[in-house]
Symmetry: C2
Subunit: 181 residues, 2 copies
DNA sequence: TTGTATTTTCAGAAATTTCTGAAAATTCTA
DNA sequence: TAGAATTTTCAGAAATTTCTGAAAATACAA
């Protein structure tokens, strides 16, 4: 059975990467374990698999739920909570992006917004102009990201696969209908 | 002079956000300070501004340079190194995305690749199929990201501003030329 | 209700990351 | 080349984050 070792090494890898993705080692390992295991797992099984304390698993579950990456699935005839991924791989990836946008961009955007609003209207300082540029860029990315979520998954996938040839399509559109910017 | 306090509070904010963006507090503060200050700054000035040790600033500079976010600019008649942002706000944002992709996606992609290659060809395990899906998704995003960088900044900006109406443009293209997927 | 199974909480311990500051290394000038 | 200016390094200290495990809280069954 090769896949046991496969799972184990990917779980370790997700642990190491965890902190780069916004959670800690245990949470990363838990996510990998739940995603790679076909059967729903309960907290004791997770703790035993990863060799960490029950309390740590409880905190990790809370974290993964706050990211909307896992959900409970009750098993008939068992009072324990069992956990499964909250959707397909695609769904999980989208969810990670949504949450990271919330945690990494939104606070900065609103801080910049309030600074810019409070500025004197005759303030032409370099710092303010830089803030304005950061703000505009973040806002543009945010809007674009919201818009992408409105596309249906098929449109989104075909856009992703289109890659840089989207440039040609855009040029074509502009030739046919004129550019507004 | 309002902008002094503006700078200070944004520097503090970038410090707090730093760890979410992949660096530590001091590095985040240094980046904000350099980006918001019109004049090039030397290491002593940065240390004094932020109230941290000279050694810490030296390490922070190395880090920001490894992200290609700052560069030196020599001041005539001064032997000290002076630092400035390595390009426009847009350039810096792109650079952060490029580096994060390198640090957050590439290692996982190559680990998955090697697992999948080594798998027995008759392995139909759930875990392997999940790994394959994660791999394909990461690869698609990576390719798309590379492709986006090939667009010129104007095309890229117009794509961003187009938002979800890109769906309509895609549908139009498919009607005119047929869909390949 | 009472007792049992299960989950959560959280104080302190352990692990990890960040920071300091003095010494070493490097770079430049004369 | 010597010596002054500047930068880097890195061992240990400080700060922060993560983890444990026992106690408290909650949920359920009889």
């Amino acid at each position: 059975m090769q896949s046991k070792n496969d799972i184990e090494s990917l779980v370790m890898h997700f642990g190491e990467m965890g902190s780069r993705w916004g959670f800690n080692r245990t949470v990363g390992q838990m996510l990998a374990l739940i995603v790679l295991t076909e059967q729903p797992l309960n907290a004791d099984q997770i703790a035993a698999s990863l060799g960490v304390s029950r309390g740590n698993v409880s905190m990790g579950i809370k974290e993964l739920q706050s990211w909307r990456l896992i959900r409970t699935q009750s098993q008939p005839g068992d009072r324990k909570d069992y956990f499964v991924p909250n959707g397909s791989i695609w769904d999980l990836a989208m969810q990670v992006m949504i949450e990271r946008r919330k945690r990494e961009m939104d606070p900065t955007l609103s801080m910049l917004r309030s600074h810019i609003m409070q500025a004197d209207s005759d303030d032409q300082s370099y710092a303010l102009s830089q803030m304005q540029q950061i703000h505009d860029l973040l806002e543009m990315f945010g809007r674009w990201f919201d818009d992408m979520q409105k596309l249906n998954p098929n449109q989104l996938q075909s856009l992703l696969k289109l890659g840089s040839s989207v440039g040609k399509v855009l040029d074509m559109k502009d030739r046919l209908f004129g550019s507004k910017d």
